[in-house]
C-alpha cells in the first residue's frame, strides 16, 4: 500500500516568520533606491564635469579602476571624486542581494535550522569570495 504524498510543509520545519519576508523586501527596495540614486547623481555630475568627453573616450577607459579597493574607494569618497561615488553606486547594487542572503542566514539561525543556516552561510561566503578574492585575482 503506497503512502500518500505530503502536500504541505513538514511539521518539523516551521515556516519563516512573516517579518523575514517584509525585511528582505525592504533590503531590496532600500538597496536599489540608494544605488540608483548614487548612479544617477554620479552620472549627471560626470557629464557636467566632462563637457569635452566623447563616447569613444568613455569606451576606451574604465574610470573606476583606482577605486576598486577599500582604501582607494574610501579616499576617493573623502575627496569627493565623482568616479568614487559611481563606484559606490555599483558596489551597493552588487551588495544588495548579498545582504539579502545574509538576512536569510540570520533568520534561519534565529529559527535554529542548522542545515539552512549552513547553506545560506556557505552562499554568503561564496559571494564574498567572488568579490574579494576571485575578481581581484583575475584582474
Amino acid at each position: 500500500m503506497s503512502t500518500p504524498a505530503p502536500t504541505s510543509t513538514p511539521s518539523t520545519v516551521p515556516p519563516l516568520p512573516p517579518d523575514a519576508y517584509v525585511r528582505m523586501a525592504l533590503v531590496l527596495r532600500v538597496g536599489l533606491g540608494l544605488s540608483l540614486a548614487l548612479l544617477a547623481g554620479g552620472l549627471v555630475a560626470y557629464v557636467v564635469a566632462h563637457p569635452d568627453a566623447s563616447s569613444s573616450s568613455i569606451l576606451a577607459q574604465t574610470p573606476i579602476l583606482s577605486y576598486l579597493s577599500f582604501a582607494g574607494l574610501g579616499s576617493g569618497l573623502a575627496s569627493g571624486s565623482i568616479e568614487a561615488y559611481l563606484t559606490l553606486g555599483l558596489v551597493v547594487l552588487v551588495a544588495t542581494p548579498i545582504l539579502r542572503v545574509f538576512s536569510g542566514f540570520y533568520y534561519f539561525r534565529r529559527a535554529g535550522e542548522r542545515s539552512m543556516t549552513a547553506i545560506t552561510f556557505a552562499v554568503f561566503v561564496l559571494l564574498l569570495v567572488g568579490v574579494l578574492a576571485i575578481g581581484p585575482y583575475v584582474r
Binding site: 505530503p6 513538514p10 515556516p15 523586501a25 566623447s54 552588487v94 542581494p97 536569510g104 561564496l126 576571485i134
Partner: protein, 291 residues
C-alpha cells in the same frame, strides 16, 4: 545593422544609452527574457562596447531589474525564500566559474569565441521561452529525503482560484544540476538565465508556475551578484555605460510589468522574439568576423 560609427558627445551618448535601455527593459519584460538578453547585443552592435564590458553591464541590468520586481514578489510571499536559498548553493558557484571563464577568455584574446557562444546561448533561450509549461497547479509528486529534511514546501494564496495552494519540492538532485548549469550560463554571459531556472523549478521540483517564476526572479539577483562581483572587481564594469543602462532598463521593466501588463501576451512575445533572434545571429556573425 546601424551602428554608432562616429564618436558622439557624452551627454548624447548617455541619453542614447538610457533610451535604448528603456526599450530593452520594456521588450525584456514583455517577452519574459529579461533586459540583459536585449541590452548586451545592442551594446555590442550599436555602441561598439567590448564583450566583457557588455557582459558586465548585463549583470548590472539584471541586478537593477531583479531587485525592483523581486521586492514585490518577496513581500507578497510568492517567492519561496527557503527553496530559493537552497538552490543558490548550486547557482552561485556556477556563476563564479562562468564569470571567471569569461575573464580568462578575454585575457586570452578569445573574445570572438565568446561572441559566438553568446549568440548561440541567446538563440537557445528562445525556444525555452516559447515552450514554457505554464501549468498553474502541477500534480503532486512525493518529496525526496533532502526536500523533507530541509522543509522545501509551502503554500501561497492564488487569487484567481481564491484558495491557498500547497506545494512540496521533489527531485532536488537534478534541480541542483540544472541550477549549476544556469549559474555557469548566467556568470559567463551576464544574463539571468531565468528560462533554465524556471525549467528546474517547474519540471524537477514540480512547483506551481507562479511560485517558480517568483522564486526564479528572487534567485536571479543573487546569481547575478556572484558574476557581477567578479566582473566589477576585475575592472570590467564601466560605470558611465552601466549607470544609464541600469536606470533605463529598470524604468523599462517597470513600464512593462506595471503600466503595460496587458501587452505581455503570447502575440507580443512572438512579435519580439524574431528581433532577439536577429540580434543573436548578428552577434554570431561578428564573432565569425563576417560583419
Amino acid at each position: 545593422m546601424v551602428r554608432l560609427s562616429v564618436a558622439v558627445d557624452l551627454a548624447l551618448f548617455v541619453t542614447l544609452l538610457v533610451l535604448v535601455a528603456i526599450a530593452a527593459g520594456l521588450v525584456g519584460s514583455l517577452t519574459g527574457l529579461g533586459g540583459g538578453v536585449v541590452v548586451i547585443p545592442l551594446l555590442l552592435i550599436l555602441f561598439g562596447t567590448s564583450v566583457p564590458v557588455a557582459i558586465g553591464t548585463g549583470f548590472v541590468t539584471i541586478l537593477a531589474t531583479s531587485s525592483a520586481t523581486g521586492a514585490a514578489y518577496v513581500r507578497d510571499r510568492l517567492s519561496d525564500l527557503r527553496i530559493g536559498m537552497f538552490l543558490e548553493i548550486a547557482t552561485v558557484p556556477g556563476a563564479l566559474i562562468g564569470a571567471t571563464v569569461t575573464v580568462f577568455l578575454t585575457h586570452a584574446n578569445l573574445q570572438s569565441a565568446l561572441l559566438i557562444a553568446l549568440g548561440v546561448v541567446f538563440l537557445a533561450i528562445i525556444p525555452g521561452t516559447l515552450s514554457r509549461r505554464h501549468i498553474d497547479i502541477p500534480p503532486t509528486l512525493p518529496p525526496d529525503s533532502r526536500s523533507r529534511r530541509l522543509g522545501l514546501a509551502g503554500e501561497y494564496h492564488d487569487e484567481k482560484l481564491d484558495r491557498d495552494v500547497p506545494y512540496v519540492a521533489a527531485q532536488t538532485s537534478p534541480a541542483l544540476g540544472v541550477m549549476f548549469g544556469a549559474g555557469v550560463v548566467s556568470g559567463m554571459f551576464g544574463i539571468g538565465a531565468g528560462v533554465f531556472k524556471v525549467l528546474a523549478l517547474e519540471r524537477f521540483l514540480n512547483l506551481p508556475m507562479k511560485v517558480s517564476t517568483a522564486t526564479s526572479n528572487f534567485m536571479i539577483g543573487v546569481t547575478a551578484a556572484a558574476g557581477a562581483g567578479v566582473m566589477l572587481a576585475a575592472g570590467y564594469v564601466n560605470p558611465v555605460v552601466a549607470a544609464p543602462v541600469a536606470i533605463g532598463t529598470a524604468f523599462g521593466a517597470y513600464l512593462g510589468s506595471r503600466v503595460l501588463p496587458g501587452l505581455a501576451n503570447p502575440t507580443v512575445r512572438l512579435l519580439f522574439l524574431p528581433v532577439i533572434a536577429a540580434l543573436a545571429i548578428e552577434v554570431i556573425l561578428r564573432g565569425l568576423g563576417l560583419q
